[in-house]
Amino acid sequence: MPKTPEGPVDRRGFLKGAAVSAASLVPQVGPVRQAPAQDHEHQAVPSDIALRVKALESLLVEKGMVDRAALDAVVDTYETKIGPRNGARVVARAWVDPAFKKRLLASGTPAIAELGYGGAQGELMVVLENTPKVHNLVVCTLCSCYPWPVLGLPPIWYKSAPYRSRAVIDPRGVLREFGLDLPEDVEVRVWDSTADLRYLVLPERPAGTENMSEDALAALVTRDSMVGVAKVMAPAAGGRA
């Protein structure tokens, strides 16, 4: 039996150390997360981490610790069922149904459950209404907390150091990087998800959408607008947002 090595050395050994498998034939590509252009170049050759995760999955399946069909189901759920289209339906409903909006702002979780959404990381939802005077922005500085049932898994930028570090100290600068320059008289409120509450921004309904159906409105609502880094724009023909 090989001696069991100690903590972080194992971790490093597994993630970037020299493997004796086919992985050793693949050149190290450095950090997995590269600029998009570089990512593309590297996709031709499986990265070291890809081979290692594949080996880990095979091993755990063979050991009977995990079921491959269960893994497939998780991937499918997060790729096709849980995502920002769910949150967009919540927002559109709030725009067309004032009674629903009132329930949603008073107590997020049960109102969101009316549309069939809930579960892990959505147990305690708080909905924040953007108005012409108050703009809400959500971050998790300590981790990557995010309301999965309504927004899905977080995008890279939300989980990464630049956003997590600057959203609280320079929210207006961060918003400008997203293309949103807020007037001086708008109050910016940043919400740091440090506890078990999860936040969803209810963006402003854009002008010129008065005659649109709930479904058509939902199609306008973006993930970014529900995190608070963007506004919802009216369709190009429908006037300015």
């Binding site: 972080p8 971790r11 997360r33 063979e62 990464s160 929210p171 740091d192």
Partner: protein, 215 residues
């Protein structure tokens, strides 16, 4: 602990990398890694340590270098090795060692699953509208009190009721098992960041009773 995971207010992390057409998983291995993390449950998981604290214990330089899913996989591998559920040769080959016996039985479900809000009656220490100060503490264990609010004055904006306290000692054990109220505390941006900041803006942080003292 004051490690690099506590990023609020730091400079030097570069521009925000925005990918307009970002897929859920950038490469298939990310999806498989995520599914493993969601499916493996408590296999090899230490009895008390919480997942967030384990992430924070990743050495700072590694933490910054790793992607989200790499950190998760790193933790999982670490746990499995420590619990002697897998060996290094198995991780490299992707196959059980000759003569190894499959581990049984499956571990019990996570006792901390489900909503963390506690259905108990606990008196709040603070009232909505009250001014409070975040404690100036620097614990070595896990804490939900970010560095950038410590010692700063804020106002209780909402009381969310009693929750299990998530802060731990250095071993990852809860500091208290008695539930306590969680509040959204609103800090004026100028109180946190000084003069050039707009006094109109604010940062709202969710904190437990033990993070706060009277202002």
């Amino acid at each position: 602990m004051n490690s690099v995971h506590d990023m609020g207010g730091m400079h030097g992390m570069g521009p925000i990398e925005y990918d307009r057409n970002e897929p859920v998983f950038h490469e298939p291995w990310e999806g498989r890694a995520w599914a493993l993390v969601r499916t493996m449950g408590r296999w090899g998981r230490p009895r008390t340590r919480n997942f967030r604290y384990e992430l924070e214990l990743i050495p700072a330089a590694d933490y910054l270098r790793m992607s989200y899913y790499e950190r998760f996989i790193s933790l999982m591998v670490d746990r499995l090795l420590r619990a002697n559920l897998v060996t290094c040769t198995e991780l490299q080959s992707g196959r059980p060692d000759a003569g190894s016996i499959n581990p049984t039985p499956a571990p019990p479900p996570d006792p901390r699953g489900g909503p963390p809000r506690e259905e108990v009656s606990v008196k709040p220490r603070f009232k909505v509208g009250q001014d409070v100060r975040a404690r100036n503490i620097h614990p070595l264990g896990h804490t939900r009190l970010p560095r950038y609010v410590r010692g700063r004055r804020g106002t209780i904006m909402r009381d969310h009721g009693p929750f299990a306290f998530q802060d731990t000692d250095v071993n990852g054990d809860p500091l208290t098992r008695t539930p306590q109220h969680v509040y959204t505390v609103r800090f004026n941006a100028r109180e946190l960041w000084g003069e050039p900041t707009r006094s109109r803006d604010s940062v709202c942080v969710d904190l437990w009773d033990d993070h706060l003292e009277r202002a």
